[in-house]
Symmetry: D2
Subunit: 282 residues, 4 copies
């Protein structure tokens, strides 16, 4: 039968790099994924001649991390993409995903400690480079940055009303509710920024800023405002993809106990949850 799509690679390659500068260590805590697609149909018939082992992909991550000069995850991802595209004849497209765990440098006596880190944030910085052989259809290089697992919550400034109702609708409209999400945001760079780290922090902070300020009429409404703000403020960004799960907090009914509940006591729930996605383009 016909193999109509194929992809292979290595996931969860965990890399910690320590740059031991005089009097100060810089540390990056990264998890890398490498995915190849291309003219690998022979492998599916048992001919491994063109198959670079996924174990070698892993070795390549560590060897290039040592051999090459790079600072931001975007650079490491680009170096890996270049390396594989230049050498693997059958490779049509390579996808490199990097996820960074964000540690905080410890302060001791009010000064940053040279080599101690603590309490990483729960969100992760992400990078994705998708690169294809020149001449291949869709052959340009796509560079994305993103933030995964960014928890956001506001206890006011959010409503949901005026929605479509049918005979199965029991939800009451509200003009003030608690809104909580665990945002994933990914943005594509037209021209990658000169300072990818600064650009990332600027976008991440802007997403939080808009979430806080925006008078929300729905999660969709907030999503559009977040994407619009990024595109307006950052000319290097061409497109923003957002995924905003709606993590419901239900006001507890305390009336059976003779108590009122003026939007004070909530039960947080994990499931079910609403899910809102959108892509905003310039």
């Amino acid at each position: 039968m016909a193999l109509t799509a194929n992809r292979y690679g290595k996931e969860r390659v965990r890399l910690v790099r320590v740059a031991r500068g005089a009097g100060r260590h810089e540390m990056r805590d990264l998890t890398v994924r490498v995915l190849f697609s291309g003219a690998y149909a022979a492998a599916y018939d048992g001919d491994n001649r063109d198959v670079l082992p996924t174990d070698t992909m892993k070795n390549t991550v560590y060897a290039l991390a040592r051999r090459e000069t790079w600072s931001e995850p975007e650079e490491l991802a680009g170096l890996l993409a270049d390396h594989f595209l230049a050498r693997e004849e059958k490779l049509a497209q390579v996808e490199i995903d990097v996820e960074e765990r964000l540690w905080t440098r410890v302060e001791v006596d009010g000064a940053p400690h040279p080599y101690a880190f603590a309490a990483p944030r729960s969100e992760r910085r992400t990078t994705r480079v998708v690169a294809a052989k020149e001449g291949t259809q869709g052959g340009e290089r796509r560079v994305e940055a993103g933030v995964a697992g960014l928890a956001l919550l506001k206890t006011s400034g959010s409503g949901f009303s005026g929605f479509r109702q049918d005979e199965l609708t029991t939800l009451a409209p509200t003009d003030d509710r608690l809104l909580s999400t665990l945002a994933d945001a990914h943005w594509r760079y037209g021209a990658p920024p000169a300072d990818a780290g600064a650009a990332w922090h600027a976008v991440r902070d802007l997403l939080i800023d808009v979430f806080a300020r925006h008078p929300s009429r729905s999660v969709q409404h907030t999503l559009q405002a977040m994407g619009d703000a990024v595109l307006a403020a950052r000319p290097e960004v061409d497109e923003v993809r957002l995924r905003l799960p709606n993590r419901h907090h239900h006001r507890v009914d305390l009336a059976p106990f003779g108590l009122d509940n003026p939007d004070e006591i909530y039960v947080a729930t994990d499931e079910p949850f609403g899910i809102i996605e959108g892509t905003i383009r310039r």
Copy 2:
């Protein structure tokens, strides 16, 4: 800025249905996801008029599960798709995903117990219906079944050699290794089968059978064999998508302790892992 893609819905709607037949209860333990896409751009500007709340989607799952007649998850998914498409004017495409947890009926005194269940398998049965409005591009209905998280392991009958080597390759070729995967397989039905439950079990058992029998030269090789076998045996299946992570088991080097290790003692690892994907079509 322009909204170029949008989708919204409800995830993790957990539904247990008990059909209380005389002397024997049938139980289904399902988790449902509903996703809408369509002409919902106004919602992203804060106009909720066309937005059916995700809370209503959840209510609909429970209400239809009670009101309609259905037996297999494919039927429930189809009923939900029909319901939403018929009523939501702005809806262009609806995706319904159902995942079933597979319980075992308890045996007592050698006979099946009427209402006690135990020790569900770790894998889940999945169903996916993607349906679009008539006249919409790609407007046919896609019905898929699948198995998620199917653990498979063989201690022989698998090799990997003859692969491409570069200066970063350290993997040794082998003609007999331990192969372990946690398979996800999804197959599309041309004409949905008369008995979706029987069809599912037949495909699932066939996937395991081929994994066991096939003299594997690589994960890709096994993947093609599994897909081919399903397409050969089941005329109602048009396409099979497989994802086979390679969960590495490393032979422990016991030489420092004066011991040999004739392929007997392994360390199982979770990360990194190889990942092999492929789509096989008739």
Copy 3:
């Protein structure tokens, strides 16, 4: 300041052993934990002289697994306990925990396949050996077996009524509810059984059998019945500890949609959950 308790060791040592018999491989998939306690206070002052590295504990698991003759996890745990107690002067007590993942042998053409395994159960078999130096207080050896994560569910045969009510109680009494748990059961052997594998299967099957048969007035009531049955049937067992979370399934109120719900449609919930524990001794 005074160190009043200390313990150290290695967790998550993953061991897969393949016994390659002629025409049939036996496979065990184990995760081992080793914990030392004893006269190790000097280590907490920075003197490592008596500290056997946890890395060596890991090596010991693999080396003994190869060098010694063992079949059941209880035997491997006992060998490890003996090894460490005999050699480590400062060691007062060692705890060895082994958890087994339970694979199913694949059937092909109606016969068991010699080396292919699939679809492990979601529950795990556990073993625990706690052994102390002779002459130490509490110096006898404790051998336990157990089952962790055993999912059980019955759609009838369970009630909960006649309970204490206060002004914050809203739960309605019921004489027929859906009961679901994810049981952990651990039992201590007086004299370890001749065939630890057979004993384990007998106790595990008995726990399921009693769960199914017992007309339950509460989770506590079921717990006692399960423990009593094990002690009655298995003279080698001295004590049973059970932990039975109550995984609530709520009947969905369909009245707002003009539908009844005769105990047919439930929502399964993960949190909060009730938790019931008890220890039953001969």
Copy 4:
């Protein structure tokens, strides 16, 4: 057979409280566990007369959270303990555990936002109150605070050498290694502090400070230093319990690729891991 130990209660009661002050909302995101032990043997025989339903325990958490005045988790835990002890005749001991998710208030235009929160830390603040009926053995009240899941890492200032070696030891001694842990620390208050929030932050910051500064000869050595420092600085603390898993980072061997690796490139691993525990008392 004899019931020799019993305990029951409710886990994962999730409570979010919003105190809506003028111009500024305070928010607490808590998860509560309630456990009863006492003269409940009759329940195990199916007599529910003395059993307060776990559903009522849940209701009590929400109702007291609304009705009573409290600010810190320690106060809420104490109120719940008092409530249950005063009313439940058969209750000998109650355990209340509270875990807090620590959100960060969003800054907008350099000022704290009145009601938006983001990016909670990965660690949680914990509180535990164990209280017994007066006259009961061990009848005093134990109040603990703690931090769970505090990630700490240092790229220098840590060694491990001079340890015991046997013929299965392959670990090389080192006087400079990367040390990473995910600390759990719990401390018992003699007299609970006047400001439980300030006390918690002081201890948490001190644990991080000592981890950073201390020239570590082993994880045990660091553990003792952390505990000692807390007892020295905080007279209200009687006892500190620490659990410090050693999350191994292995230096990658790049020699096969003609590269050196001067302690720069590491692979982070999740399993196996070392585990070091200790209790330090005044």
